[in-house]
């Protein structure tokens, strides 16, 4: 049976189509104003990309912030559980994934996976943008750099400085004062990445850092951040092939499982 997993996040929406174990397609789209519109957009995108007809999809699971606001779907699952299901499925060359760090636009999650593959424990950032992907996007804008250039600048930094990441709004004014002191953009970009890496590193350590540790979500596409997270954990992290759609993959797996249960 073909199943779909839709992950309606705070910044982007992701979709995965599965036919049993076979991946038929995946899509990532920037969000529309309403979660229901984002859900339709990303579902259309994944159907178009894979050439599957809407009517051929047997079950749709929704997850992420907009999971209850999608307006369609057969089954709702939290992104925590979807994340674990996705991670167990993709695995890693070094063995099963036991810890997942998911850096999204609005929140950061750490999920500990037990030996049986279920969620053993999890943590999320408090209500605050300071430990999230949004923090980096805001600071990139303040430095007048596109996100890619901001990441590249961070990788070029040779004179690291220290910055706190306790408040995303105040961090913007800190950036302004650093610029006024003629600090290089590279060093500011690196400090911003470092601040996030330290915060999320502490969160991973609180949950426990059982290896293999996977880094997923939009944040995992950021090479500078991945390097600094590894340094902060003093451990290697595994970045799956499509880190942004891992949660949507988990939702599609869950949809398959639920549909099979219902068929019994």
């Amino acid at each position: 049976m073909i199943t779909a997993g839709l992950d309606i996040g705070s910044t982007t929406s992701k979709a995965v189509l599965l036919d049993g174990d076979r991946l038929l397609g995946a899509a990532v789209v920037p969000n529309a104003a309403l979660p229901s519109a984002s859900a339709r957009l990303v579902f259309d995108a994944v159907l178009d990309g894979s050439g599957v007809a809407r009517g051929a999809v047997g079950a749709v699971a929704t997850t992420g912030y907009g999971r209850r606001l999608a307006g369609f779907g057969d089954f709702v699952i939290t992104e925590i559980k979807a994340c674990a299901l996705g991670a167990v499925r993709v695995g890693s060359p070094r063995g099963p994934i036991r810890t997942v760090l998911d850096l999204g636009g609005q929140d950061t999650k750490v999920v500990a996976i037990g030996e049986s593959g279920g969620v053993e424990d999890f943590a999320m950032n408090d209500k605050c943008a300071a430990g999230t992907g949004r923090f980096l996007e805001m600071l990139a804008r303040k430095l007048d750099l596109p996100l890619e250039a901001f990441i590249a600048a961070a990788l070029r930094s040779r004179n690291p400085i220290h910055m706190n990441a306790t408040c995303a709004v105040f961090a913007e004014s800190e950036v302004v004062s650093l610029l006024a002191r003629n600090i290089d953009k590279e060093d500011i970009a690196a400090a911003a990445h470092q601040a996030i890496a330290d915060r999320i590193g502490a969160m991973v350590r609180r949950v426990g850092q059982q290896e293999v540790i996977a880094f997923v979500g939009g944040g995992a596409l950021n090479r500078a951040l991945a390097a600094m997270v590894e340094e902060s954990l003093n451990k290697k992290v595994h970045i799956p092939e499509s880190p942004q759609t891992l949660v949507a993959l988990g939702a599609a797996i869950a949809a398959g499982g639920r549909a099979a249960e219902a068929a019994l």
């Binding site: 912030y65 992104e79 925590i80 559980k81 969620v119 053993e120 999890f122 999320m124 408090d126 209500k127």
Partner: protein, 415 residues
């Protein structure tokens, strides 16, 4: 009358005239009332408790009134002095914003909301003749001096730990000072007879809360945790006579005991611990129940823990009454202001066993450091025993409701 030496730096009490904020305070209450109306299973007596709680400030004043903060000063002493006790801690998020006229934004929301209500000339504190402010956390310790601008304040001193060998006599002596203070406010010093009568009445309340708890454990779903909190808080946060509450609460116990479920309740049972959840800040309770959790028991000083333990009198002298009151209110308190958290840990573990709970949820009020710090040991002790645990760190505002929902749903999926 002020227990502190007269403050040479006393200020005139500050009041706030902000109609917009008053409107928001009323909105916050009305909104939570609407949420209560959505509870599916509600015994017939619940509206009495809702009205009593919501209209506390409008209750007719029949005798002197003494306002208290926290749950560690025994109300029996106030009652024995011929005054009505009323708890003044506040859970209104809009009142917390009003409190920011006086206190910095990153002070504990409970302290800000409480001061926000003192800043209303039509608020419940304005009807009180005196206040009892325990030196529990830093916020309360410092509020005492500010509240002394609004009326006579007894700053109730507490031992740092619960070593009864060291602190029993001093705690009883502190209650004697409190009795003298209350007697001065009312002109009627508490007698042994009056104190025993007050203890008999509050022990009746403890018995009711105990029976409600037992009935809820036996029949989960018979009474929502939100309605239980409304019922308990209607007795603590309203100056109306406890006798009337007792009569209605007896009816409630009958209704809850008579409840028969149509089918077995399969919802996940959790024990709730942590910071006080005070009307109308029921955000966490709303989300827990909406996500399908069944809060089987709690250790909150604004929930069952506030009055479930009776006063155990072994002797009849006034001193014996003070010692027994100290044993219940001070040494039995689960407040994290004491150096050790062992009492709370034991209570949590005991409740997990009694209720056959699937997990423990802690409500950690943001900016409340004692609960934040206690979280370290709580989490490890529970995990060592393989009891699933979720720490919800949040404040009075509603903006993180969806985030809380994700955490709670995921937790319930996990346990």
């Amino acid at each position: 009358m002020n227990r502190q030496p007269t403050n040479p730096y006393a200020l005139r009490p500050a009041f706030s005239d902000n109609p917009g904020n008053r409107r928001k305070q009323a909105f916050v209450e009305a909104d939570q009332r609407r949420r209560l109306d959505e509870i599916p299973q509600r015994p017939a007596d619940i509206p009495y408790f809702v009205e009593r709680l919501v209209n506390a400030a409008a209750a007719p004043k029949r005798r002197p009134r003494i306002g208290l903060l926290c749950n560690v000063a025994p109300v029996e002493i106030v009652m024995a002095a011929g005054a009505d006790p009323v708890r003044l801690d506040c859970g209104n998020s809009a009142a917390a914003v009003a409190g920011e006229e006086m206190l910095a934004g990153d002070v504990c929301p409970l302290a800000k909301a409480t001061i926000g209500v003192f800043m209303r000339e039509d608020g419940l504190p304005a009807t009180c003749d005196a206040f009892i402010v325990p030196a529990t956390c830093d916020a309360k310790r410092k509020l005492g001096e500010i509240l002394a601008d609004y009326g006579p304040v007894f700053q109730f001193a507490l031992p740092v730990d619960k070593d009864t060998v060291r602190h029993s006599a001093e705690a009883a002596a502190e209650l004697r000072h409190l009795a003298a203070f209350a007697g001065k406010v009312t002109g009627r010093a508490p007698t042994r007879k009056a104190l025993r009568a007050a203890i008999a009445l509050t022990n009746h309340r403890s018995d009711i809360v105990h029976r409600l708890q037992e009935a809820r454990i036996a029949h989960p779903g018979a009474l929502s945790i939100r309605d239980l909190f409304v019922c308990i808080q209607a007795s603590l946060f309203s100056p109306e006579p406890l006798e009337t509450w007792v009569a209605h609460a007896e009816n409630l116990v009958h209704a809850v005991k008579a409840f028969t479920a149509e089918r077995r309740n399969l919802r996940r049972r959790v024990v709730l611990t942590g910071a006080p959840i005070i009307w109308p800040n029921f955000k966490v309770l709303n989300v827990l129940e909406e996500c399908g959790a069944l809060v089987a028991a709690d250790t909150l000083c604004s929930g069952a823990q506030a009055c479930i333990d009776p006063v155990v009198l072994a002797e009849t002298s006034l001193d014996a009454c003070f010692r027994a009151l100290a044993a219940r209110s001070v040494f039995g308190a689960l407040c994290p202001c004491f150096s050790s958290q062992a009492t709370r840990l034991s209570r949590v573990l005991d409740l997990v066993e009694k209720t056959r709970a699937d997990g423990v949820v802690q409500y950690a009020l943001r900016l409340c450091q004692p609960f934040d710090i206690e979280n370290y040991r709580l989490e490890r002790v529970l995990k060592e025993r393989r009891i699933p645990f979720l720490n919800l760190r949040t404040d009075y505002s509603l903006e993180d409701t969806e985030q809380l929902r994700v955490r709670i749903e995921a937790f319930l999926e996990t346990v």
